[in-house]
Symmetry: C2
Subunit: 606 residues, 2 copies
């Protein structure tokens, strides 16, 4: 019963190599000044190290941590010691600082390589990884907007693994509606502020690991304008840090309770109260009222990170269920009528192949999208050409809500299928697939619910700059179509994608027409369907990109193993175009009809 618990399921490294070097040309980034000291060998060595640490130090305690979640004894939060030990190995290897400047003690790695490493830690143990990813996120904000003094006193210790970081945005009464937050910051001189208020859903908000926890808190100054324009960002450490960086007394951040979740159980999730008992002092980051702008500056990366995390939970489930399907005998082929004939492995059943192929199409498609977005981040940040930079930024802006939401919807679906492949065993806690499913259910919710992503995509990204971002995206897709055109093996996909694009364009015109006619509520009422539709088109594009590379590679006489790999890519592409992309038809039709069924459902009629 417990065989599954010990098997490993992180990533198919052959696929990662394909994605990074054959599909994305990450090596090409080394031509940029910032990455000029790196090359593929360096990247591979780092990926090898990440995989080894993930496998040896993160994965083994994932199930144990899930079953033994952090608890609060009224005085302290207790977390399995395996977590701190794994983080020590991680920090020892310098992963936290991987993408940071060499001047800050980092390795100046491309974001794409950092994400590929994060992907493996995520797949191995999402809860333990949570602590480092949050700390990196907080460090990123300080790197971009903190003063030199703040960077030395707070960011450096985070990158060394001595301090942990958190993000404190939501409040109990206002989860997604940041404009309504009530936490206050009153100036007490010297860029210091007295912070008072409650924060909700704070991951990593309290524990005994490391020397300190650096909370990055959104709060309002006394003279703040109303709504989102009146939000400022503060550093609020658990323990005060003096001018020399020495850690001192507690700073009035009180743990009000832990949230107990369905998944992500190992990442302690807290309700915090600031300044309720004893003074709680924070330092302003950057300029007053610029807090949300700073957060949004990091938003694309944070959301792509969530998307990639969702991909990897799905990916891990795919690997586990694939291994199971190859080893589990059960049943016979439909035409086999002899009850004494030996049972076949379940991977031979067409319906099991369907469930594996769907998982493959979702997770490898999702990985292609999220890594592609990561290269856009690198490309944008290091491009010497301002016009190109602006274009990359636009492309990233429009792809971000899709890269966050699509994997969190469809790689959760992959996790559901992984359970189904294992049947009753998949439903038990002896195998990891049920845990991965529980973990992944968070991703459509946090870092902006998928409903909010949909409003962002249609209400902001599609219409901004007179549709420039959308045109840019469609142009990129057309480039791939042009590349595939004339290749007879890819003809079906070229036609399928063209048709889907045509339908999506019609739907977009109908919707923007409604918006221009002032029907703003109707325009946005079915935004989530628009996100589904655009998501499937973008993933179909990603599959066509992969199919082109695989098709070309097959022409050049690959090894038997590579031949199977590339054939699998073509097969998964076919699956996506025949089984998934046709969903765009009904979605586009519904959108084009400006259906008001949901918007106009009277509330007393439910």
């Amino acid at each position: 019963m417990s065989a599954g618990a010990t098997s490993s399921g992180i990533i198919n490294r052959r696929d990662l190599t394909f994605q990074l070097y054959e599909l994305l040309n990450v090596e090409g980034l080394c031509e940029r000044q910032r990455f000029s000291e790196h090359n593929r060998e360096v990247f591979d060595a780092i990926l090898d190290t990440a995989e080894r640490i993930a496998r040896e130090h993160f994965e083994p305690h994932a199930a144990l941590l899930d079953e033994n979640e952090p608890h609060f004894d009224g005085k302290e939060v207790h977390i399995l010691p395996e977590v701190e030990r794994a983080l020590a190995v991680y920090n020892e290897a310098g992963f936290a600082a991987g993408c940071f400047d060499e001047a800050d003690g980092g390795m100046q790695l491309p974001y794409t390589i950092g994400q590929a490493c994060a992907a493996m830690f995520h797949a191995a143990n999402v809860s333990t990884s949570g602590y480092v990813l949050l700390t990196i996120g907080a460090s990123n904000l300080l790197a971009a907007f903190g003063s030199e003094d703040q960077k030395r006193r707070f960011m450096d210790p985070m990158l060394e693994g001595r301090f942990f970081g958190t993000m404190c945005l939501s409040e109990p009464h206002a989860g997604s509606s940041l404009g309504d937050l009530r936490t206050k910051a009153e100036p007490i001189g010297d860029n210091l502020y007295k912070i008072t208020g409650d924060k909700m859903w704070i991951s990593g908000g309290e524990h005994q690991m490391g020397d300190n926890i650096v909370h990055l808190v959104l709060a309002k100054l006394p003279d703040a304008p109303p709504g989102v324009k009146g939000i400022s960002l503060f550093i609020v450490p658990k323990r005060r840090v003096d001018a020399s960086g020495a850690v001192g007394d507690l700073n009035g951040v009180r743990l009000m309770g832990l949230n107990h979740k369905m998944g992500y159980r190992g990442t302690v999730n807290t309700v915090l109260s600031f300044g309720e008992e004893g003074d709680c002092v924070g330092e302003l980051v950057g300029k007053p009222h610029h807090g949300l702008k700073y957060m949004f500056h990091m938003m694309n990366e944070a959301r792509i990170g969530v998307g990639l995390g969702a991909v990897m939970l799905g990916y891990s489930g795919f690997i586990h269920s694939l291994a199971y399907a190859k080893e589990r005998p059960q049943g016979r082929h439909p035409a086999q009528k002899d009850p004494n004939a030996p049972q076949v492995m379940i991977i031979e059943h067409a319906d099991v192949k369907r469930m594996l192929l769907a998982q493959k199409a979702y997770v490898e498609g999702g990985l292609a999208l999220t890594l592609y977005c990561a290269t856009l981040v690198d490309d944008e940040q290091t491009s010497p050409d301002p016009e190109k930079k602006a274009q990359l930024g636009l492309l990233l802006d429009i792809l971000t809500p899709i890269a966050k939401a699509w994997p969190s919807d469809w790689c959760l679906e992959a996790n559901k299928l992984a359970i189904q492949v294992l049947g009753g065993y998949g439903y038990t806690r002896d195998y990891p697939v049920e845990r991965l499913y529980r973990d992944n259910r968070l991703n459509p919710i946090h870092e902006g619910t998928n409903g909010i992503q949909a409003m962002d995509l249609l209400g902001r990204k599609v219409t901004m700059k007179q549709g420039a971002a959308l045109r840019l995206l469609l142009g990129q897709v057309q480039e791939t179509i042009a590349e595939a055109s004339g290749v007879s093996e890819l003809e079906e996909y070229v036609g399928g994608l063209q048709k889907a694009l045509g339908r999506a364009t019609e739907a977009t015109m109908a919707l923007t027409g409604a918006a221009m006619g002032g029907k703003i509520r109707l325009f946005l009422a079915n935004a989530s369907v628009y996100l589904d539709m655009m998501g499937h088109i973008v993933i179909a594009w990603m599959w066509l990109r992969q199919a082109i590379v695989a098709h070309n590679a097959l022409q050049s006489g690959p090894s038997a193993q590579d031949k199977a790999f590339y054939t699998g890519k073509l097969h998964a592409c076919r699956y996506f175009y025949r089984w998934e992309l046709p969903k765009v038809g009904p979605w586009a039709k519904l959108l084009s009809s400006l259906d008001d069924t949901c918007m106009n459902m009277p509330e007393d009629c439910f």
Copy 2:
């Protein structure tokens, strides 16, 4: 944080009344001899009692039981005492025997009323209900196939709540492939047999409640033919029962371990070993080698029961998320630009309405189907006309895999949406929606995986008797279409359903054509899509049936409250026809193309 934990979410009784009396005419069953002593008042009183017991004795410990699952201390299995107390109240009220013959101490209730009661217990607490539903299932088998002596010694105590029942089918090496089971039964005279073998996934397999546990075990006699034709059914009690019915010594049934599941945590799930230490004696039920036939005799009811259980888990999530959406303020309408304007309740957001409407369409559609199937069971069992009886049996046969699989897929989807409505709160264990989602994930797996249901539907039910069952089903749908035709408000749905039927018919012809051409593997390769397609069509039919009743009721000047209720039905129907039914198009096209993508994926290419 814990407000959600105490709220109740079982069923909308107005909807249940609508389903039973306005849509299904359950009162009409009282014209049958078997039910002639009942009337609507009796039914309502029983439903009221069931709801009250479910609310007062089942629902309050549902979350506690989930967090404190049964455990084995090496000697005994311990289960929260609340479970046994709730079951005592349930048995006191006579619910176990509700549908059984008066001669057997039952109330001779229609199966439909029994299912409506079971629905409420299921929604209130699926784990505690599990014990009684299994016991009723075992009692049903003995009522149908046991000797009078077996009924008195085993069934009667089960119906009184003194004994518990289980079904022991699966074995560790052969979950769904019953023909491969290895448990042996060697005759030792007097209709007694020595049982040896291991059984897996046995719910309620061991505990200290009641006086005894009656295991109904599938095993093979020494002279058994191979495969499914060589399976016999045995009564194997935990403690031996003598001729007088007195409970004696342990009977060599050993608990090997507990399975720890993602959901359904409160229903102890076991691995049992029979006859490994000490003799384990069983009694043959009915004739040798007829075991699977007996099981299949109960299969329709068991599978409809699973479907209804899936519906109710979704229904409960719908009620909880609806209540939350009406009380939770957050955000403003898209056109509202004033950040100082008060926040609106989230039910006012179009995307939240979408998630509620989808849930309503899934769960009320699923309830309509499973209760309709329940009336077919009653109608078939009590119809005086043999030809009509045969037709009802056929209709039930073809609807059963759909009634099992569709709700377990789509009402799980409803549970996913309920979590999303609650956002971060929905992901915590302070609210019931995450538990309902975990519970419901079992339903696509047990009582025949949905993949097996799909093979059953396409490979057996569609083709049996030269397609008679399918023709009968389509005829019923056409009758509803005829009834709705000419009503302008329903015209859109008549057209939509006709179109979907046409596409499904084309797909069916393409598939059966492949089968007749000998391409059996290709015929069955995409059976799961066929099930999806037929499921959506059948639920669309159920929604048209509901819309007709609602439309007619609105003509007769209902109360304001009823007007809102019927309007809601029409709105949900519209949702299903505009948002869900169009999915049939791509499914039918895929099926008609006899796509071999999944079937032909080479195993080394994943």
